[in-house]
């Protein structure tokens, strides 16, 4: 593992591959901290926010959002990996593949043809991959989008040469801590909280809406037990399985080691 503090003010890149740009937007949504962030970080490459861009300089730290969906994405990622001492995946697409990686369940070529006609087949498109399927990733901040506080906390830790705090509690645990009544038990709703990585303070269930699983699987997620619990509350297994696949684990990662 590498750490980010080699100089007083580390050089930083914030780079987007294919995605909704939501994680870069979360960075810009740190409105009250933004000018502090630029004081502490020497942001050299952040195309979404600045046209003054150095896309060649070495970087102490790079945050990369989005999934790899084209050769262009792949080249961009390989290049920033070469430039950066420390690479942090931000957002569920970068960490797990996210919604675009649902293409694993379908015939991608047929989908390209459906959307763009035969002309679409000449587009630069590849099956969706998470960053770690392409390059080594030092740290991961998951979430769709990432939580602002987790991003700021990760920056603070990295500035001090420490790894960002890792999380291994499911959304369910945070929901209990907030004393929310369980949506599965009391209302029979399909809630992905038991198998989804926490850190969002149970954002959805505390607002009466079941967890959609958008932060990806928690370390040690016991999927069979969750499916059995859902079934016991009247939710058919195939319905639950389809829901869990939306932000499901990478096919290459065994269930017992799903932690990013």
């Amino acid at each position: 593992m590498t750490t980010a503090t080699t100089a007083a003010r580390p050089t930083v890149g914030i780079v987007g591959l294919t995605g909704c740009a939501g994680d870069q937007l979360v960075v810009l949504n740190c409105e009250d901290k933004l000018l502090d962030l630029v004081r502490l970080l020497d942001i050299r490459d952040f195309l979404m926010a600045s046209s003054d861009r150095d896309d060649e300089c070495p970087l102490d730290l790079v945050f990369v959002e989005g999934a790899v969906l084209s050769r262009r994405d792949e080249e961009t990622l390989l290049r920033v990996r070469e430039r950066a001492k420390c690479l942090v995946a931000i957002g569920t697409c970068a960490v797990w593949g996210g919604i675009p990686a649902l293409d694993r369940l379908y015939d991608r070529q047929a989908m390209v043809r459906d959307v763009y006609g035969n002309g679409g087949l000449q587009f630069d498109t590849l099956p969706a991959r998470a960053l770690r399927e392409v390059v080594p990733v030092d740290y991961a901040i998951t979430g769709c989008p990432i939580e602002r506080e987790e991003f700021l906390s990760a920056v603070a830790h990295l500035l001090h040469g420490n790894p960002p705090p890792s999380r291994d509690l499911p959304v369910c645990a945070e929901c209990r801590m907030r004393e929310t009544s369980c949506l599965l038990v009391t209302r029979g709703l399909l809630c992905c909280g038991p198998v989804t990585q926490g850190g969002c303070a149970a954002r959805c269930p505390t607002r009466g809406v079941p967890c959609f699983g958008c932060r990806g699987p928690v370390a040690g997620a016991n999927i069979p037990a969750a499916l059995a619990a859902f079934e016991a509350h009247g939710i058919p297994r195939e319905v639950a399985e389809r829901r869990l696949e939306i932000f499901g684990p990478l096919p290459c990662v065994a269930a017992e080691e799903v932690a990013p």
């Binding site: 740009a21 587009f123 959609f212 319905v239």
Partner: protein, 433 residues
């Protein structure tokens, strides 16, 4: 032949570029390149249950995720004959005002304004014009605070569901929003002064056709049933259900966004298009700002889109304040979503997203599983117009200075406030018949 390529546009949302070819006779070609990878969400929603569709399609774009969510929910509700309550409509209105305030503040100040000051970014602007950046960030934060309170998250809403809301704002949250909105009114006034002080620029000015929803009451962005297209002084009404007649899309090789035309002419959508077709319905506060910024007659200037966004900042802060006062007067009254019984059917939800007309259209089977999905996004609708005016902007540079061409091309594209994540996600799951 000279080729000028902007490989990757800065200060826009998503990945796009511009390429220009200059020949002996003049400008040979101008392309607005959408180079974002294709996420193919159409195949992904097909066969999935109705309650997964809004959370998945919201991920098309972060900045417009509230608009995508509500267009999606509206399409689904129509397909199932679900009619949300008037209270739900008002809360959705507030959610969209929040998104519009955030998105416009981001575009006007953080993306577009630095060009006028010759600065590379708003962050660089902060050294000399700290007050401008503080103002921008306060307005942006206000828009996000509204979405946090109403939608449960500033990006990718969580509480808005088919038939209503999973939870309602608390009185304490609303009181905090009221404070923020009162400050917001002052900030908007300062934003108008700033905007009025900017020098005019002539980049790609040329007459344009405009398309936007007919906006009834309060200049509202949701619940549109009719699209108005204004072209050469004539306005034509198109029912939302017939939207495909204005979006005859062509796939073009250089772009993952399809191109749309109206009777063969490119048209523009967005804040300036809304003003062009709904100017008569502008509330008094907004009308005063429009007057001040010179947006009263026909517009041929793409930069007017940024000015029209400032008009909407004024309208939205006023309207959001009214809605918050209304919710406060109602007191805490939680309302469960309207129950949903899936049935076979189609529904089309049209909405004015921050960047313009956005349409979600779905066909469901009797179990409530998606059979077909079609999403038409504002930036895809604007792509042909962007290219049309890019050509004009390039032709205006008689000395063919490459640096100048680049600068002007970037500024022109930015005026459209493109959202390239959106543009590429033209969901179109209709099978060839």
């Amino acid at each position: 032949m000279t080729r000028i390529v902007i490989d990757h546009l800065a200060r826009v949302e998503g990945h796009g570029g511009v390429s220009v070819e200059l020949g002996d006779g003049g400008v040979e070609s101008v392309h607005f390149d959408v180079i974002e990878g294709a996420r193919l969400l159409e195949g992904i929603v097909r066969g999935r249950p109705y309650d997964e569709v809004a959370p998945i399609t919201s991920r098309i774009c972060a900045i417009c995720s509230a608009a995508h969510t509500i267009a999606s929910l509206t399409a689904t509700e129509q397909a199932f004959g679900v009619v949300p309550s008037a209270r739900t409509e008002r809360l959705r209105d507030l959610m969209l005002r929040g998104e519009n305030i955030e998105s416009h503040a981001l575009h006007v100040f953080l993306l577009a304004l630095p060009d006028y000051f010759g600065a590379p970014s708003a962050i660089a602007l902060a050294t000399e014009h700290r007050e401008v950046v503080d103002l921008a960030l306060r307005l942006k934060q206000l828009g996000n605070a509204i979405q946090e309170v109403v939608a449960g998250r500033a990006i990718h809403p969580v509480t808005a569901v088919v038939g209503g809301f999973g939870s309602w704002p608390t009185q304490n949250d609303l009181l905090a929003l009221r404070e923020g909105l009162l400050q917001g009114r002052e900030d908007v006034a300062a934003a108008v002064d700033l905007m009025a002080s900017l020098p005019p620029v002539d980049i790609g000015r040329s007459p344009s056709a405009y398309a936007a929803l007919r906006m009834t009451g309060f200049y509202g962005y949701a619940s549109g049933h009719e699209i108005l297209v204004e072209s050469s002084g004539r306005t034509v009404s198109v029912p939302v259900t017939a939207y495909r007649s204005i979006t005859r899309e062509q796939t073009v090789p250089h772009s993952h966004a399809k191109h749309s035309r109206w009777n063969g002419t490119p048209f523009m959508v967005g804040a300036i298009a809304r003003l062009a077709v709904n100017g008569d319905h502008l509330p008094a506060g907004g009308a005063r700002v429009a007057q001040r910024l010179g947006l009263t007659g026909e517009s041929d200037d793409p930069q007017d889109n940024t000015r029209a966004q400032v008009v909407e900042l004024a309208v939205d802060v006023d309207r959001a304040l009214e809605l918050v006062e209304h919710l406060l007067a109602e007191g805490d009254c939680v309302e469960a979503p309207v129950p949903v019984t899936p049935r076979a059917g189609t529904g089309t939800g049209a909405i004015e997203a921050p960047r313009g007309l956005l349409i979600h259209s779905y066909r469901y089977d009797e179990r409530g599983l998606v059979e077909e999905a079609d999403v038409v996004t504002p930036t895809a609708l604007n792509a042909a117009s962007v290219e049309h005016r890019l050509r004009r902007a390039v032709e205006q540079v008689s000395d063919r200075d490459a640096a100048r061409i680049r600068r002007r091309a970037e500024m022109l594209v930015r005026a459209y406030d493109p959202c390239i994540s959106c543009a590429v996600h033209v969901l179109d799951a209709r099978r060839a018949v």
